[in-house]
Symmetry: C2
Subunit: 442 residues, 2 copies
C-alpha cells in the first residue's frame, strides 16, 4: 500500500490508503465510475421504504444495503454487539455509541462482504438486502444531541467582520486563540429535501430604530460540513486533542440557513438565535473518517501557536471540494441547469475538528453519540470560494448574476444544492446531495 500513499501531488497528502480504501478495490455490486459511493466509501444513513420502517442502511453505488436485514442474517455476529437491535433502530446513535473499534471492525466486514473477493456464500447473504436507492427515502441519520456551530474559516470571519463592523478590526482578538463556536438548535436540524419556510422575525429596517416583525429579506446559506460524533468521556473530563479522533465518526454536508437581517438586530449580547434556529439542513449519508483518511492533508499554519491543549501532533485537515449550486424557479421552468455559486474546500479551515473537540470539552463538557459539530461557513480567499451570499454579494451590494437574473439573497422557490467530493488516484468519495428549496413565509 505504501506506494499509493505517495500521490501524484507529492507531499500534498498526509493520510494514506489502507485495505478498505485501496484504489484497486472493486465491488461485485455494480458501481458507476462517477458514483459518490464506491466500495471505498461505505457511508451510513437511515433508510425507509414503502415496505419497512426506518432502519440503518449503507450506500454502495446506486444501491442501499438494509443493515437491519443483514444483521438479522447474522452478518455482524461477534463484530457489532447487539447488531440486530443497533441496526433496526431508526437512527445511528446506538452504532455511534459503540466506539471506534466497532466502527472499524464493521467497516472491514462490510468491505469484505461487498468486495469482488467475497465468497459466493457472502454474496448470497448480502444480495437480498440490496435495495435500489431510488426506492428508498432518507431520514435523519441520527438524533442530534447537541449541535455546535463553529466559525473555523478565518476568511469567513474576516469577511463578516469587514461587513458588520467596517470601522473596527475585521478579526476579533480571540479568533486566533479560540475555536469560536456556539450552540445551535438541535431540534431543527433536518435532512436534505426538507422544505425551508422563509422565517419571519424582528428586523430593523435601514434608517429605522424600531423593529417590525416581517419575513426575512436576507435569507442566506452557509456552506458547511458537520462532524457526527461518537460518545466522549463522562462529564468533568476533557478530551485530549490526540484522542479526539476516537470520538469522531464522520462528516455530512451542512447548510446553516441564516436570516441576516434578523441576526443583525438580535445577536448582541448572547449571539445568533432565531436568525439560525429555524432550520439547518444536513446530507443523509455520513461518510466515516476512515473513508476520508486518504484525503487528509496539511492544514494552514497557525500564528500565534495555539495553547498546548489545542496543539495536535498531526493535521486533521481534509481535502474535500465543496460546491453550492442555485436554481431559480425561472431556471427550473426553462429546464436550465442550476448554476454554481460557491466552489470551496474544507482543507483551508483555520481550526480543525480535533481542536474543536478538545476545545468543546476543555471545560469538562461531555459529548454524546450523535452530537453534531458544524465547521462554520467554509470560505476561501478567492471570492468564488466564499461560502455565503452575504460574502458573495457583500451584503447585497454586489448582486450575483444567475442566468439572466440576479440575486442578493434567496427568493421564494430558489433551490440550493450542495455537493462535496474527494478525489485521489482514481478514488472518488462523495457525500451525495444536500438540497433545500425556499417556501414562502407563512
Amino acid at each position: 500500500m505504501s506506494e499509493r500513499a505517495i500521490s501524484r501531488e507529492g507531499e500534498r497528502w498526509v493520510g494514506a490508503f489502507d485495505a478498505t480504501t485501496d484504489p484497486a478495490l472493486r465491488s461485485w455490486v455494480d458501481v458507476d465510475p462517477g458514483s459518490d459511493f464506491p466500495i471505498q466509501n461505505l457511508p451510513l444513513g437511515v433508510i425507509e421504504t414503502d415496505r419497512s420502517t426506518a432502519r440503518c442502511g449503507l450506500a454502495i453505488g446506486a444501491q442501499v444495503v438494509d443493515l437491519a436485514r443483514l444483521a438479522e442474517a447474522g452478518a455482524f455476529d461477534g463484530i457489532v454487539p447487539h447488531a440486530r437491535v443497533v441496526f433496526s433502530a431508526p437512527a445511528l446513535n446506538a452504532f455511534l455509541a459503540l466506539g471506534r473499534h466497532v466502527w472499524r471492525a464493521f467497516r472491514e466486514r462490510m468491505s469484505a462482504l461487498l468486495s469482488v473477493h467475497a465468497s459466493a456464500e457472502a454474496r448470497t447473504i448480502v444480495a437480498p438486502c440490496l435495495l435500489p436507492m431510488r426506492d428508498v427515502a432518507m431520514r435523519m441519520p441520527c438524533t442530534i444531541g447537541d449541535y455546535i456551530d463553529f466559525y473555523a474559516s478565518l476568511e469567513h470571519a474576516t469577511n463578516l467582520g469587514r461587513i458588520l463592523r467596517p470601522s473596527g478590526d475585521a478579526l476579533l482578538p480571540n479568533y486566533r486563540h479560540i475555536p469560536v463556536g456556539y450552540h445551535g438548535r438541535a431540534g431543527t436540524v433536518v435532512p436534505s429535501g426538507t422544505a425551508i419556510v422563509r422565517p419571519s422575525g424582528q428586523v430593523v429596517q435601514a434608517g429605522g430604530s424600531a423593529p417590525a416583525y416581517v419575513p426575512t429579506q436576507m435569507l442566506d446559506i452557509e456552506t458547511e460540513m458537520g462532524l457526527v460524533t461518537g460518545a466522549g468521556p463522562p462529564m468533568g473530563t476533557a478530551v485530549r486533542i490526540d484522542d479526539a479522533r476516537d470520538l469522531a465518526y464522520g462528516y455530512v454536508l451542512l447548510n446553516d440557513w441564516s436570516a441576516r437581517d434578523i441576526q443583525a438586530w438580535e445577536y448582541q449580547p448572547l449571539g445568533p438565535f432565531l436568525s439560525k434556529s429555524f432550520a439547518t439542513s444536513i446530507s443523509p449519508w455520513v461518510v466515516s473518517l476512515d473513508a476520508l483518511e486518504p484525503f487528509r492533508v496539511a492544514g494552514p499554519s497557525q500564528e500565534p501557536a495555539p495553547l498546548p491543549y489545542l496543539r495536535a501532533s498531526q493535521s486533521w485537515a481534509y481535502d474535500i471540494a465543496i460546491t453550492a449550486r442555485l436554481a431559480t424557479p425561472r431556471m427550473r421552468t426553462r429546464n436550465q441547469p442550476s448554476q454554481t455559486i460557491v466552489e470551496t474546500n474544507l482543507r483551508g479551515m483555520y481550526w480543525h475538528f480535533a481542536q474543536q473537540l478538545a476545545h468543546a470539552t476543555a471545560n469538562g463538557a461531555s459529548v454524546r453519540a450523535g452530537d453534531l459539530f458544524g465547521t462554520g461557513t467554509i470560505s476561501g480567499s478567492e471570492p468564488r470560494a466564499y461560502g455565503s451570499l452575504i460574502e458573495l454579494t457583500w451584503r447585497g451590494r454586489d448582486p450575483l448574476a444567475i442566468g439572466d437574473e440576479t440575486r442578493t439573497f434567496l427568493e421564494d422557490g430558489d433551490t440550493v444544492d450542495m455537493r462535496a467530493v474527494c478525489l485521489r488516484d482514481g478514488v472518488r468519495i462523495g457525500f451525495g446531495e444536500l438540497v433545500g428549496t425556499i417556501s414562502p413565509a407563512r
Copy 2:
C-alpha cells in the same frame, strides 16, 4: 371557589384556585404542614430505587408514588394513553408529549386518588405504590431536547451591562423588544446533587493580552427557573402567544453555573459557550403550571409595548419566592447552617414564558416535548435580590461576608442550595431542593 380567588393581598393575584389546588383539600397520605409537596402540588420526576429501574414518580409529602406500578394496576386506563409504557420510561418525555388535556386528566385522577375523599378501594390500589422519599434516588426528569437560556430580568441585564460595559449604555437597544436568549448545552443539564467540577478554560488575566488555559477563578451561580415543555406544532409554524400555555408543562429550579473569566474572553461575537456549557443543574421535581395557577400575578408593565406577536391577553408572571444559600467547607466542618445569599422572586421578570415561547417559535422553529426554557438569572432591584455572585459582589469588588469568611466567587467545596416556594391562603407549593457542590479542577 370564587371567594378564595380574592386573596388577603387583594388584587395581587391573577390566577385562581380550582378543585385540585383548593386550600381545604387534604390527602389521606400524611403530609407535614411545611412540606413542599402537599396534595395541591403533585410534581412529577424520575425515580430509581435499589429494587427497580428508573421510572416516573410523583411526590406527595415525604413519599413518592411509583407511577409505573400504579399504571400497571390500571389507575390511568382511559386517561393516559399507553400509561404502562409512558410511566415505566426513565424520563417524562412521553408523558410531556401527550399534551395539556392528558396532563389535566392525569392531575385530576391523582388528586382524586390521593384525596381524603378517595374510596377505600382507591387507597388499596395506591398504598402499595408509595415509597419513602428517602429510599428513592432522583434522576433527570426528562431527556432535554434543546435548552434555551433567556435573559429575562431587566435588572440582571442592566447590572451585567454596567459591570461589563461601564462606558456604554447598560441596556442594549434590543432588550425591550426581544426576549433575548441563546441555546445552551442540553447534554450537560444535570440533576440536583451532581458534583460540579471547576471548569478550566481560556482566561486573559487582568492587564494581559494573551490567554492561558487555567481553572476558572470566577465560578458563579445563576439563580433561575426552567420551563419544561410539551410538544409544539411542526417546524414552520409559529406558536401564537395565547396558545403558549398549551405547550408549557411546568417549572423546575435551575442553576446555570457560569465561569465569568472564561465568558469575558470567549463571548464575542457568538455568545457564551464554554463559560456555561460545563454544567447546568436542575431540581428533579417538575411542578406543573396547574399547581402554580393560584400564584399567577400581574407582571411588570412593558414600555415600549412589545410587537403584537409578543402581546399576551393575560399575565404569565408567577409569585415564586426563590432563595440561594451558600455553605463553605469550614461552615460544614463546624456544623454551621448555610447562609442565604439570594432572596428573589420570579414575579418581577420583564419577559414571561409565553412571550419566550412565542418568540422562540416566531421563525418557525419547532419545540419538542422535554425542551427546557431557562428564565435567565432572576434578579430584583434590591441588591439582596441579585441572582448571581457577579452582581452580588459587583464582579468581586465587594466581597460577601459568609459567616466569618468572605466570598467573591465560589471556592472548592462550596455548596449552593436553591429553594423556591409559593404561598397563598395556607397552601405551600415548593420545588424541593437544588444543590450542587464544587469539586476541584481536574
